[in-house]
C-alpha cells in the first residue's frame, strides 16, 4: 500500500533520513521505533510531502506521491495523528473534527454525520465537549481529538506519531485499544512510537530507525523477542 524506497531527506544541508526503505501492506499495523531525533517524525513528514525527499521514491497504492503537494497527498487517503497532537487550539472540538473531514466536502451529507457519530462513540468525552475550544482540553482529550480528527478523513492509511506521548499509562492502554479497533475496521496504520513494548504488542511488523537509518526490521513478535526493546529502553544486557 505504502512503499518507501531508498529515501533521503535533508533539512537544509543536514541529512535526516538516509536511504530509508519501508513498506506497509493493506490491513497491517506497522510500527516504527526509535529514540528522539532518530528521524521518525521526518519519515512521516516525508510521506505527507511536508518535506521533500532529496532522493528515492515514495509510492502509495502503486502511484508515486513524492513531489505532490501535501493537500493532494492528503486527499488520496492518508491522514496523520501528529506528534504533540497539534490540534487547532483556537477552534472548537466540533470544528477540529470537521477540519478532519475537509477532504470530504463532496461526500453525501449523511456520511459525515455518520463519521461524527463514530468519533462520538469512540470518544464520548469529546461529544460532551464538542463546543469547547481545543486548547482547553486536557492532554488525553487532545490526543483523542487528534485521533478523531484524523479518522474523520476516512483514511485508508493512518499515520500516528507517538500517540502515547505524555499520556498516563491507563490512557496509553486505552489509546492502543482504540488503534487496534480502528485497524479492525479496515484502516491500515503506520505508528511511530517510543513506547515500543506496547506498540509492538499490537503491530504486525516493526522497523527500528536509528540516526535516520533503518537498522532492524522484522515481525513484531520477533522484535519483542530479540529484547531490542528492553535493551534500548531499560538498558538491560
Amino acid at each position: 500500500m505504502l512503499k518507501l524506497t531508498d529515501v533521503d531527506t535533508h533539512y537544509g544541508p543536514l541529512p535526516v533520513l538516509k536511504s530509508v526503505s519501508l513498506e506497509v501492506r493493506v490491513g497491517e499495523i506497522v510500527c516504527l521505533l526509535g529514540g528522539n531525533a532518530s528521524g521518525k517524525s521526518t519519515t512521516m513528514k516525508t510521506i505527507l510531502g511536508v518535506v521533500r525527499p532529496t532522493a528515492g521514491r515514495v509510492e502509495f497504492e502503486g502511484d508515486r506521491i513524492d513531489g505532490l503537494a501535501t493537500e493532494v497527498i492528503a486527499r488520496r487517503g492518508i491522514s496523520l495523528v501528529p506528534e504533540a497532537r497539534r490540534i487547532f487550539a483556537r477552534m472548537t472540538v466540533w470544528e477540529n473534527l470537521s477540519m478532519g473531514a475537509f477532504t470530504r466536502q463532496k461526500a453525501p451529507a449523511g456520511e459525515v454525520a455518520q463519521d461524527f457519530e463514530r468519533v462520538w462513540t469512540l470518544f464520548p468525552r469529546l461529544k460532551e465537549r464538542q463546543h469547547q475550544l481545543g486548547g482547553t482540553l486536557s492532554g488525553g482529550e487532545q490526543q483523542m481529538l487528534a485521533i478523531g480528527r484524523a479518522l474523520m478523513a476516512r483514511p485508508r492509511l493512518l499515520l500516528m506519531d507517538e500517540p502515547s506521548m505524555g499520556l498516563a499509562p491507563v490512557l496509553v492502554d486505552q489509546v492502543f485499544d482504540i488503534i487496534r479497533a480502528i485497524n479492525g475496521q479496515g484502516t491500515t496504520i503506520l505508528v511511530v512510537e517510543q513506547n515500543a513494548p506496547v506498540a509492538l504488542s499490537i503491530a504486525t511488523r516493526g522497523y527500528v530507525l536509528q540516526n535516520g537509518r533503518i537498522v532492524i526490521h522484522d515481525t513484531a513478535r520477533i522484535l519483542l523477542a530479540t529484547d531490542y526493546v528492553r535493551r534500548a529502553y531499560l538498558g538491560e544486557d
Partner: protein
C-alpha cells in the same frame, strides 16, 4: 464644561463614524497578519484604489443619467466593482510581491519592504493615471443633506447610518464566514498551523490568496464608504488612513478580527474625545500614547493572543 457636555453626544457619533472606517480598513491588516504574520503596508493603497473605483462608477452613472440616483441601488453598484477590483489587486500583490518571498523563507522583514515598495508603486501609479488633483465624490446627490435624524442631542445623517450599517454588515458577514463556514475554518486552521492544515487537505496557497482577496475587498469597500463620507479622495489618502487603521488593528490585537473592529472604534472615539477635551494639535499624540500604554500593559493588544512570540524578526 457645560458646552463640552452638550456636544458630547455629537462627538460620540462622529467618533463612531470615524471608528467604523478605521475598523473596516484595519480588518485587511489583521486578516493578512493573522495568516502570514506580515504587515501588508500596501493595504492603505488598496483602500485608496477602492475609493477611486467607487468614484468612477458614480461618475459614469452620473454621466449616464443625471439625477434619480438612489443609494439603495447605486451603493451596491459602487461597492461591488470596488471590492472585486481591490480584491483581485490584493491577490496579485500576494502572488507577485509577497509569495516569492515567504516561499523562499525570507526573514519576516523582506515582505515588509516589498510591501512598502508596492505601496509607493501603487500610490504613484494612481497619481500618474488619475492625476494628482483630488477627486470629489458627489455624495450630496446620493444622500441629500437633509436626510438626517436627531438622536439624544446628536444629529446623525443618513450617510453615517448607512455607512455604519454597511460596515457593520460586512464585519458581521466576515465574522460569520470565518466562524461558520468551511472556508472560514480553513482560514483559521492555516493561520494556526499551516502544516497541519495542509495535512487536512487544505490548499494553503489558495486559502492565503483568498484571505488577501477578502481583506483587500473589505479595504476597497472601506474606500468607497470613506469616499462618500469624506467627499474627497486623492492618491495620497491611503497613507494616513492606512497608518491609523494599522494602529487600530494592533490596538485591538493584530490577527484578531474582533480586535480590529474594537481597535478601530476605540481609536475613532479617542480621537473625537481628544479634540473635545484637549488641544486638538495633540489629538494624534493622545491616540499614540494610548496605544503605547495599552501595549505596555497588555503586550498583545486588547483582544490579542500571544502570537507575538512567534513573530520574530
Amino acid at each position: 464644561m457645560a458646552d463640552v457636555l452638550a456636544i458630547l453626544p455629537q462627538q460620540l457619533v462622529f467618533g463612531l463614524a470615524l471608528g467604523t472606517v478605521y475598523g473596516l480598513v484595519a480588518l485587511g491588516y489583521t486578516m493578512v497578519y493573522g495568516i502570514l504574520f506580515m504587515i501588508n503596508f500596501a493595504h492603505g493603497e488598496i483602500f485608496m484604489i477602492g475609493a477611486y473605483v467607487g468614484w468612477w462608477v458614480l461618475a459614469l452613472l452620473l454621466q449616464a443619467q443625471a439625477g434619480a440616483l438612489h443609494p439603495a441601488w447605486v451603493l451596491p453598484l459602487m461597492l461591488l466593482p470596488a471590492m472585486l477590483f481591490t480584491g483581485a489587486l490584493g491577490v496579485g500583490l500576494e502572488r507577485f510581491a509577497y509569495r516569492p518571498l515567504y516561499l523562499r523563507g525570507a526573514t519576516r522583514l523582506g515582505p515588509l519592504i516589498s510591501a512598502i515598495g508596492a505601496s509607493i508603486f501603487l500610490q504613484n501609479a494612481v497619481m500618474l493615471t488619475q492625476g494628482a488633483r483630488m477627486k470629489v465624490y458627489m455624495t450630496s446627490l446620493l444622500f441629500p443633506r437633509d436626510w438626517r435624524i436627531q438622536i439624544a442631542g446628536a444629529s446623525v445623517s443618513a450617510l453615517v447610518i448607512v455607512m455604519v450599517a454597511v460596515a457593520g454588515l460586512m464585519m458581521w458577514g466576515l465574522h460569520l464566514l470565518v466562524q461558520r463556514t468551511t472556508l472560514g475554518r480553513s482560514i483559521r486552521a492555516v493561520a494556526e498551523d499551516r502544516e497541519m492544515a495542509a495535512i487536512m487537505g487544505v490548499n494553503v496557497r489558495r486559502v492565503i490568496a483568498l484571505t488577501f482577496f477578502m481583506g483587500s475587498a473589505l479595504g476597497g469597500a472601506g474606500g468607497v464608504l470613506v469616499g462618500l463620507y469624506y467627499t474627497q479622495i486623492d492618491f495620497f489618502m491611503g497613507y494616513s488612513a492606512g497608518l491609523k487603521a494599522f494602529t487600530a488593528a494592533v490596538l485591538g490585537g493584530i490577527g484578531n478580527i474582533r480586535g480590529a473592529m474594537l481597535g478601530g472604534l476605540i481609536l475613532g472615539l479617542v480621537e473625537s474625545l481628544a479634540v473635545t477635551f484637549m488641544n486638538p494639535a495633540y489629538k494624534d499624540v493622545v491616540a499614540f500614547v494610548l496605544l503605547i500604554l495599552v501595549l505596555v500593559i497588555r503586550p498583545t493588544g486588547l483582544l490579542g493572543e500571544s502570537v507575538a512570540a512567534r513573530a520574530k524578526v
